[in-house]
């Protein structure tokens, strides 16, 4: 691997300096002059017709400027949704989940808006509700959606989801509440099942999760003069721009979406959330309107898809997989949001990075009268892996093979295809797993009520490769980098600065990265699927090369020599006879005054190294050792071992941070976290009863390893990080608990009560309760 000056170093992230002083501005801190504040009035029913909304009293309340319902939005396109535009800004005629926005109160202050919201009266005519996927799929189940909302708003969606052998059906408005279907099949599964030495079948339930990004969803919108300016917590400002332009019938260029620092995203801030609400508030009042949700409202805005998965696998006596069959049902809530893609990914990821000669996967995303589900870190992979990996561990036990050997027997080798026709795997999974195994074994307790578990996953990551970047070299040789990729804590601002400093040969302190402003920056399709270092990295690298090429042409003109006579140096060029000109000298001399700049542009599309989908595979290889308290069922994590197989670690400390953070979120879903519906509403829409990992839950030993084999398509062989360590944690913990207790769990989280039940041979859930 080539030597680098800045890339690959654990440089201090400059955004952290701003953040520790309290000076960093987040969306929630942005309050323009004259700003009004909005409060959402929400449905108190899971499924009901709206028969009347009384707003008069609220309108008369002190400080209230406007009260909006769907009727006030006539003339606008009143829905949003990048795949299925089924999501009402304010409920039209009926509500489909408890917590759905029905009215918006806009007032002079936060308190006045809250007071006004109390005065809005909503009358309902209740409809029968379907609160679970099973209820939604039952014959004769009440339907959530009667309308056909039309085709996908995101053209690259089908391209991203599609796999040869995969069939997709967008089934909006079906009698059985199926929002989307994806099937994937190759080989002859039935024949393989008939010939197998062992057939292992199990079912799992993956819990309904909430990402709990600590900054709740919020936005501030200013509408006027045929244009709209929104500052929001959006991961994908350009996607939100598209939804907003459609709502108001505005040209894309007249909609500006800006994203300052975000207090965590983890996928949960992908796509449009509260922006249309703030925007219609401003559209109606002519003043800036800010809307900040609380945590309960945020939970009712977006959660992750729960899943019920049945898997059946056929094995040869030596543990070789002969066939796998999955049936996936996602509980996707009342609106589609990104669940169709979550489903497509669950289908692609459930069977794991293994040689599977015969495969059949049937997936359905189901509408229920619950809060809408969408992206959350790793989406589809954690759900699918819980089924697939637990199945493999159960097979190992049945066949008398250990958990390591059955994986090594079946893992794809570097370059091998997981999905036919797609990019072969750009990772060495057997080597990664060997590292995890060695670390775990070194410190294993080998005592009663302890158990070790592994997990391996591979995600078709990177999303659709459309990226642009702009690099502007200044007269003093410093550089401004523009990207539409959002800094949400993952450290992209620092990584892109490192990369630019490396490529231009300038000090990192002279690079400024400007991100996520659709009116003053570069286009980026999304910030998700771990794409930034790889895809935006390529765009920035190309923008630097473009800027350098322009500088060379200008230098040639200034020096009166052919461009071929110009040599590129660090932050400078050299002409014939050793004439060295700094970038700034070239700019100043070419423009003929002490001013000017050079603009380099870089683009990435499905071409060249990124022609083949996915742009890269994000692998997850983890191991855990747990200890179980035999009296209480409390699980403690003795060891947490992860491998970040990232090709090239642009900033190794940042990579470790991403992996430990991802693994910790995985542990949350494995041990603590679950949203629970009781009737129409959630029992625990808050951080008291929705318990996330805390400091005392830290594993006793943490080993976050990084391997760099330069096998990614990104700069210097990099590929994405940040989701991989989450995806296989659930099954790893479940298998470890199984080995500690002697019984196989089938659902997460493994709360003390559930583990105690396992140990005492009781059903995992108290159905009698």
């Amino acid at each position: 691997m080539a030597e680098h000056r800045v890339a690959g170093q654990a440089v201090i992230r400059r955004d952290l300096l701003e953040k520790v002083t309290g000076g960093a501005a987040y969306t929630v801190d942005v309050v323009p002059q004259g700003c009004l504040h909005a409060k959402v009035v929400r449905s108190s029913r899971a499924h009901a017709l709206l028969t009347g909304i009384s707003t008069d009293e609220a309108r008369r309340a002190p400080g209230v400027v406007a009260v909006l319902t769907a009727d006030d939005l006539k003339g606008l396109f009143r829905r949003f949704g990048h795949i299925v535009p089924d999501h009402c800004i304010l409920a039209i005629d009926k509500v489909r989940y408890y917590g759905e926005p029905v009215a918006l109160v806009v007032a002079e202050s936060v308190l006045a808006a809250a007071d006004g919201a109390e005065l809005v009266e909503i009358e309902y005519e209740d409809l029968p509700a379907v609160m679970t996927a099973a209820a939604a799929l039952a014959p004769g189940a009440p339907r959530l959606h009667d309308e056909d909302y039309g085709a996908s708003g995101d053209e690259s969606f089908s391209e991203m989801a599609a796999t040869p052998g995969q069939n997709e059906h967008a089934d909006t408005a079906t009698a059985e509440n199926v929002a989307h279907r994806v099937d994937l099949e190759w080989g002859d599964v039935d024949a393989a099942l008939a010939d197998a030495a062992a057939v292992v079948e199990n079912s799992v339930e993956y819990p309904m999760l909430y990402a709990y990004a600590m900054e709740p969803y919020n936005a501030v919108a200013t509408y006027g003069d045929g244009s709209l300016h929104v500052v929001s917590t959006a991961q994908h400002p350009y996607m939100v721009r598209g939804d907003l332009a459609r709502v108001f019938g505005l040209p894309l260029a007249r909609v500006r979406v800006e994203v300052p620092y975000i207090g965590g995203g983890y996928g949960s801030k992908s796509y449009t959330k509260v922006e249309p609400l703030a925007a219609v508030g401003s559209w109606a009042t002519g003043r800036p309107v800010k809307l900040v949700l609380d945590v309960e409202e945020s939970i009712y805005t977006t959660r992750a898809d729960a899943a019920q998965i049945t898997v059946r696998s056929a094995f040869a006596a030596d543990g070789a997989i002969l066939a796998r069959e999955f049936e996936i049902v996602l509980d996707s809530g009342a609106y589609a949001d990104n669940s169709p893609l979550v489903l497509a990914k669950a289908v692609n990821r459930c069977f794991g990075p293994y040689r599977v000669p015969n495969l059949r996967v049937r997936g359905r995303s189901v509408y229920t009268n619950t809060s809408p589900a969408s992206s959350y870190r790793g989406f589809g992979a954690p759900q699918g892996a819980l089924a697939g990996e637990l199945n493999l561990d159960r097979a190992a036990e049945q066949l008398g093979i250990d958990a390591l050997q059955i994986r090594l027997r079946n893992l794809v080798r570097p370059g091998e295809e997981i999905l036919p026709g797609k990019r072969g795997i750009d990772a060495d999974l057997p080597a990664d797993l060997g590292m995890v195994h060695a670390s775990l074994e070194r410190d294993a307790h080998r005592s009663p009520y302890h158990g070790i578990g592994f997990g391996c996953t591979a995600s078709d990551a990177g999303a659709f490769p459309i990226s642009t970047a702009i690099v502007r070299i200044q007269t003093d040789g410093s550089a401004t980098v523009m990207s539409g990729s959002t800094e949400m804590g993952q450290g992209s601002r620092s990584v892109l600065a490192q990369l630019t400093a490396e490529e231009l040969g300038i000090p990192i302190d002279t690079v400024q990265v400007v991100q996520s402003d659709t009116a003053a920056g570069a286009y980026e399709r999304t910030t998700g699927a771990s794409r930034t270092t790889t895809l935006v990295g390529l765009a920035v690298q190309r923008a630097c090369a473009d800027a350098r090429a322009k500088v060379a042409e200008m230098a040639a003109e200034v020096l009166g020599c052919p461009v071929e006579a110009i040599t590129q140096l660090d932050g400078a060029v050299e002409g014939p006879g050793g004439a060295r000109l700094d970038f700034g000298d070239v700019i100043v001399r070419w423009f003929g005054g002490a001013a000017g700049e050079v603009t380099g542009v870089g683009t990435v599309r499905r071409d060249g190294v990124t022609a083949k989908m996915p742009p890269f595979w994000e692998v997850g290889v983890v191991g855990v050792e747990v200890g179980v308290d035999s009296d209480t069922g409390v699980v403690s994590v003795e060891q947490l071992v992860t491998v970040a197989d990232v090709g090239f670690a642009m900033n190794p400390k940042a990579v470790e941070g991403q992996d430990l953070g991802a693994a910790t979120q995985g542990l949350g879903g494995a041990l603590f976290e679950e949203l629970v519906y009781d009737g129409p509403q959630l029992l625990n829409p808050n951080v008291v009863e929705y318990r996330v990992p805390r400091m005392k839950d830290l594993a006793h030993k943490i080993d976050t390893m990084i391997v760099e084999r330069g096998d990614g398509v990104g700069p210097y062989g990099a590929k994405g990080a940040g989701e991989g360590a989450l995806n296989p944690i659930g099954p790893a913990v479940a298998s470890a608990v199984a080995r500690a207790t002697g019984r196989w769990p089938s659902r997460l989280p493994l709360t003390p009560e559930r583990v105690w039940r396992l140990m005492n041979d009781l059903p995992e859930i108290d159905d009698a309760g």
Binding site: G22, Y26, L111, M214, G263, G657, L660, T664, L698
Partner: protein
């Protein structure tokens, strides 16, 4: 509805004397963020369980989300904005940056204020002391290990500086 009742709050906020008439229901967090423009203090759970809004009142950590502004009358309030002196980060801030003890940074002001309170009462904490004291602060990005290390590191630096 008649005009809302107000009380006058006079307090020392980060060494600056402030006096404001506030609604009786105004929280300390709203007072700091909306009236004083001290937006470093963030809000998340608003139920006193996530620790994001932790500030110090007369040296004791409180959750600004549920603490009434009226109750700081005559008291001393410290927020994250008061940690750095003369443009120089304090040892905890410096240590958080160097140990990558934050990513999105939204929880960080709360962690810094709690850790400040810890190190004042226990300048030489053990790893378990840190975990015990900061268990009420939630971070969703880092997985906590770098935060524990940052606090221990800051304690070591402060000790070294005091003895040096």
């Amino acid at each position: 509805m008649t005009a809302e009742a107000r009380v006058t709050v006079t307090a020392d906020v980060n060494g600056v004397a402030v006096s404001e008439a506030v609604e009786t229901r105004l929280t300390l967090a709203q007072f700091l963020r909306e009236r004083l423009g001290l937006t470093g203090t963030k809000l998340s759970c608003e139920m006193q369980v996530c620790g994001v809004c932790s500030v110090l009142v007369d040296g004791e950590p409180v959750s600004a989300c549920t603490y009434l502004a009226a109750d700081v009358d005559g008291r001393r309030v410290e927020t994250v904005e008061g940690l750095a002196r003369g443009g120089a980060l304090d040892p905890l801030q410096q240590s958080f940056v160097e140990n990558f003890a934050l990513q999105c940074g939204f929880c960080t002001p709360g962690f810094l204020m709690m850790a400040t309170a810890l190190l004042r009462r226990n300048p030489d904490p053990t790893e378990d002391d840190v975990k015990e004291y900061l268990d009420g602060n939630i971070c969703r990005c880092t997985g906590y290990a770098p935060i524990v290390e940052a606090v221990l590191d800051a304690a070591r630096r402060t000790k070294a500086a005091d003895h040096g």
